[in-house]
Amino acid sequence: MKHSIKHKPSYAMVDIELAPGESIQAEAGVMVYMSEDIQVNSVLGGGFISALLRKVFGGESLFFNIFSARQAPVSVGFAPDLAGDIIQLDMSETPVVIQRGSYLCSETSVVLKTRFGGWKSIFSREGVFLLEAGGKGNLFLSAYGSIMEIDVLDEYILDSGHMVAFEKSLDFTVTKTGGWKSTVFSGEGLTMNFKGRGKLWIQTRVPRGFISWLIRLLPI
């Protein structure tokens, strides 16, 4: 499987070339273009119950699409809904936990599971349902804005809206910033406190931050 990420960083799109027999799984609705000789199959993501729960609570799609090459090499392009960058991760040992909206596509050798973020995470919309990617192969993540990789050595604190993904070697708890007063008035919302050693990927903008800004401007 060959890939190239174009139009970085603001409006990135990934082009994937599949050799005969190769497949790639993608979030529903992200296909930009594809060769004619490609087989498409739509599957339920991460089991029925978790897919249903995600649909109900997370507003996410129930399904993934799997694109496969038959006899001839084919190409397919994927782009996320929002403006921003795409990164490629080479999965090998440590599984990666992904904020649901940041998953773009992955090789079918990458195994995806839905993970419940814990009851506390219900207050931070981003952390309720997370995807856990294990196995081997290419994984592509997208972000609103740019993506930055942080090496966490012991502890790190992140505004929950900026979370893209983290290595499973990290643990997190969801807390409010300071007292209730600062949660309400600081505009920082909830934070995710990461502990352990591992990589953390963050996005430089938050979709709901942009939406709240628009709401203040609109006559609604």
């Binding site: 930009v32 799609s61 782009a79 609604i220």
Partner: protein, 225 residues
């Protein structure tokens, strides 16, 4: 007419240098700035009378009026930018025909004829407007995209999500069709796709305007009343 495109690819803007006799027609509202000796005339989209212009305004999704820029004496320049963030590219028509999705049109040499082609119910069915302007004649044109833009040479068959199409050559046949099998079409979240066959170019943008609209509608509180 010399065209210089700056600030690619996120927030591109085109500066058009005009000499006497040069005329460029741009989407209304696209002008950023111009030299004092550049004249601007506001005119109807197509030359075929009010009815044809109304058709362009209503079905083409483009403004009823376009602005025609020319220089009085000596040289002058006009700067043009589209509404959405994204790129601009320059192409040239040589008596060939190009279909441009209504939001992908920025400007064209005045020698280019602009007409509309109604795409019927298939566009309506997808909930995405699939209206194209038909550009023909000889001269330079400027296409704009939401996000990055790329030109793909099709030789055979190629499938593109309808919201990502900027333009395509008339030499290509196209058909709006469902994505994959019925199951994939209904649950795969891709909606309708365009299936291009033959030989020619198709211009693709890396983001999708209807998807942006959908995201905003889903995210913003419902309108009162």
């Amino acid at each position: 007419m010399k065209i210089d495109i700056k600030f690619k690819p996120g927030y591109a803007m085109a500066t058009i240098s005009l000499k006497e006799g040069d005329k460029i027609r741009a989407e209304s509202g696209a002008m950023v700035a111009k030299s004092a000796n550049v004249d601007m005339i506001t005119e109807k989209t197509s030359r075929g009378g009010v009815l044809k212009s109304l058709k362009a305004a209503f079905f083409g999704g483009e403004s009823f009026w376009m602005n025609l820029f020319s220089v009085k004496n000596g040289k002058g320049e006009v700067m043009l930018a589209p509404t959405l963030p994204g790129d601009i590219i320059e192409e040239e028509l040589n008596n060939n025909v190009l279909y441009v999705q209504s939001t992908g049109f920025l400007a064209a040499d005045a020698a280019i004829d602009i007409d509309t082609k109604f795409q019927g119910l298939r566009g309506f069915f997808s909930g995405e407007s699939l209206f194209f302007l038909k550009l023909s004649g000889q001269g330079k044109i400027l296409l704009s995209s939401y996000g990055g833009i790329e030109k793909r040479n099709v030789n055979g068959t190629f499938i593109v999500d309808t919201g990502h199409i900027v333009a395509f050559d008339e030499t290509l046949n196209y058909q709006v069709t469902k994505f994959g099998s019925w199951k994939s079409f209904l649950i795969g979240g891709e909606g309708l796709v365009a299936r291009f066959t033959g030989h020619g170019n198709v211009w693709i943008q890396s983001r999708n305007v209807p998807v942006l609209g959908q995201w905003l509608r889903n995210s913003l509180p419902p309108k009162k009343g």
